[in-house]
Symmetry: C2
DNA sequence: CGTTAACATGAAGGTCGGTTCCGTTTGTCG
DNA sequence: CGACAAACGGAACCGACCTTCATGTTAACG
């Protein structure tokens, strides 16, 4: 989201922008999307007005985070395409790694689960993710180790459930995202 | 929830109570827990004050619905215990039937997914459900058709994910709860 | 039919959280 | 060192919802 070469920001403004971004990442990661803007501002050591100077709405902040996360996820899956090894193992390892990282960030779990704030935005990352995932799936199916009817949409569905479970667990529910993933991945494996 | 023999309700009051209950069931089922109390009142053809005369808070209404749903679910699983047939098939059929019914009711999906409004209440239904489910699981494991490490908690986790997926699908997300369940149940089956 | 207590109503109150706005501060540039 | 635009801060604003309450209505009973 580069501001199209509009005059460079003033030094303090650039500094504050970074502080807001960092504070938002920390606050969202710890408490989820529902954290209040004032909490983010407090963490950043600025006033709410400053947050709004840099991001027009709270949603814009969420979207920025979501884009970043989706980009990284897409990269992780694309990287898996380069790896060699048994295709199912490559797929499963990529999912486990990405999920483990996601599980540590409540907001990212909520976004993955399909939180409205980030559903409409974030087109590019999703696109790349879908493409890479499709290849990963096709290979594993060709090797006969992934169920033949599995689709990218199935993976989205499973990962949406994962996001929900992980977020709920973070909120204190007696759930276990590792068990969830163990079972779901076994369900995706060919019999 | 019998009001301990406190003077019987006046005729119009009883009638209105039923209307509110029916309206709440319809509204929650259609739009989820987030429906506004005013919508429920409108559907029932009464004022909001009347809703509050019969239920102290909106949460009490949600809890009443949740209790009813959990009770019915517990009964469905208990009924499965009486059936004979291959234990895995009995289990899977019970889950499919219960899930199909749940999928038609948005609020019930949300509650199953772990919505805060109903987490604390509803102890009895959960208890009965756990007990019956434990037996169902044990039998299927004894028959070697369910994965040996599956637990009641695993089923809760899977069904929480189900509730989330079904609710999201109802809200327009490109998810598919039937696929979710197909995959998750395959993951619970013994290999 | 009259009296009364229960009940119904919906506008007003309260709260919560995102967003705005303007008086003040601060970096930048001549 | 001014002068000025950019940026900051945070109290006030606003909309969304749940909940309450003062006023009007009605079932129940003698």
């Amino acid at each position: 989201m580069s501001t199209i070469a509009s005059r460079p920001l003033r030094a303090d403004a650039r500094r504050n922008r970074e502080k807001v971004l960092a504070a938002a990442a920390a606050a969202f990661g710890e408490s989820g999307i529902e954290v209040q803007v004032e909490d983010i501002a407090r963490r950043a050591g600025v006033g709410v007005g400053t947050v709004y100077r840099h991001f027009p709405t709270k949603d814009a902040l969420v979207t920025a985070m979501a884009e970043e996360h989706f980009r990284r996820l897409a990269e992780a899956i694309e990287a898996a395409l380069e790896q060699d090894g048994e295709p199912w193992e490559v797929f499963a390892a990529a999912i486990w790694r990405s999920a483990s990282e996601a599980a540590a960030d409540v907001a990212w779990c909520e976004i993955m689960a399909g939180h409205p704030s980030a559903v409409h935005a974030v087109t590019e990352g999703r696109e790349r993710l879908s493409t890479a995932m499709a290849t990963l799936i096709r290979r594993a199916q060709a090797g006969g180790t992934m169920r033949a009817d599995a689709s990218v949409k199935d993976i989205s569905t499973i990962m949406s459930g994962f996001g929900h479970v992980a977020a709920a667990q973070h909120a204190g529910a007696p759930l276990d995202w590792e068990r969830y993933l163990t079972i779901a991945l076994d369900g995706l494996r060919a019999r």
